[in-house]
Symmetry: C2
Subunit: 226 residues, 2 copies
């Protein structure tokens, strides 16, 4: 599924690196931290006020462990974001800046009631998700965040799951799955809550970096992944 994306993405990356290689090295490549960044897959994680900080952090950390280039995009700008349990996290850049001249292999929406409501009410998030869906690229949402997909009319009719309390908001538009921690239907990956956040992040890692990489990083975190 993703081989069709590989060439256009690589060309885009090479084109950008010729134009402003010093900039991209300085900003996006802390020395020696991750390998193969210029050829790597890219993830955008939307960080909204009230986001569930564990779901956010597990996604960002696990994807970076998998060698994926992660951009943490602040929904309302680049200022620190107060999450659902008052942990303050600084985005890499604003969502507006993050989506200028850059596409991402996956858009990740962490849960948290406040964060999900903010993403539901954001026109920018709606446009981003529609473009992502039209291009056949991955969208991943966990916990309360699938309600933002419903609000923006994304992936209607597909199988998905969510935090159990959100089920009533999703059963009409989607084929709701109760009994799996992570559900993938084509380009849509959804999951249920903090307790399933590692599986969610490992599933995204598997899709972008392969099963062997997902298993390797799971083991280093003292988890297992099949």
């Amino acid at each position: 599924m993703y081989s069709m994306l590989r060439w256009p993405l690589r060309l885009l990356t090479l084109g950008r690196s010729r134009e402003n290689s010093a900039l991209s090295i300085a900003i996006q490549q802390p020395k020696g931290t991750y390998i193969n960044k210029m050829d790597g897959k890219r993830a955008l994680i939307v960080l909204a006020p009230g986001a569930e900080e564990m779901e956010f952090t597990i996604a960002a950390d696990v994807l970076r462990r998998a060698g994926i280039i992660v951009t943490v995009a602040g929904l309302e700008g680049s200022e620190p974001v107060k999450c659902s349990r008052d942990v303050m996290i600084v985005p890499d850049k604003s969502l507006e800046d993050a989506v200028t001249d850059q596409v991402y292999d996956v858009i990740v929406l962490p849960g948290g009631l406040g964060g999900s409501t903010a993403m539901s009410n954001s026109k920018a998030v709606g446009e981003l998700l529609h473009k992502q869906e039209s291009a056949g690229r991955l969208i991943a949402a966990i916990c309360a965040a699938p309600t933002a997909l419903a609000k923006h009319g994304i992936a209607t009719g597909k199988s998905l799951t969510s935090y159990p309390a959100m089920k009533p908001q999703l059963v009409e538009k989607y084929c709701y799955v109760d009994d799996q921690n992570v559900v993938q239907d084509g380009n849509l990956i959804t999951s249920r809550g903090p307790g399933t956040a590692y599986e969610f992040a490992l599933k995204i890692s598997e899709q972008l970096a392969g099963t062997a990489k997902a298993q390797e990083i799971a083991k280093a975190m003292l988890l297992s992944y099949n």
Copy 2:
């Protein structure tokens, strides 16, 4: 064990609140977020550069879900801290400010190689841990952080666990446990890595807020806790 702490803590808290009640409400009590803060247990989480952000965030979030008053203390000040996978987290205050006129029911040390090395080399962390140990209050460390305990000579001879790769640095001073995700020996709680961070945080929550509360918040996170 903790009943002996209740009165001095309560008196201290009331004394502080009489002196500067507006300040303490504004800074420490976001309206309606957590109940019983004035009577609540207090946790200090040390946030050092290179901390494992999942282990940090899970501890902060889960303890706050349990109603524990959590202070995120920046080892090197109150500026944003770059964690092991480049997530930037803003501490509530500097460690220096956090330990001025305030005691904590538990000191929590998240892992991460860089963070653990920084805590190992910090005289302030050493003094804080020695006071905590002398007073018979809880100390909790996960992943690589038990090496900071060893460096500062804390809880020598007790049973503990850690990230497996740290075992060689710990076997001489401690009774090393390989086959448990979380080990408690008296006032010392230790755990192994990102994959055991929820159990670690739930064990601390159980100690300070009771088993029923730990079970309740585990269920809300779609986990179970016995």
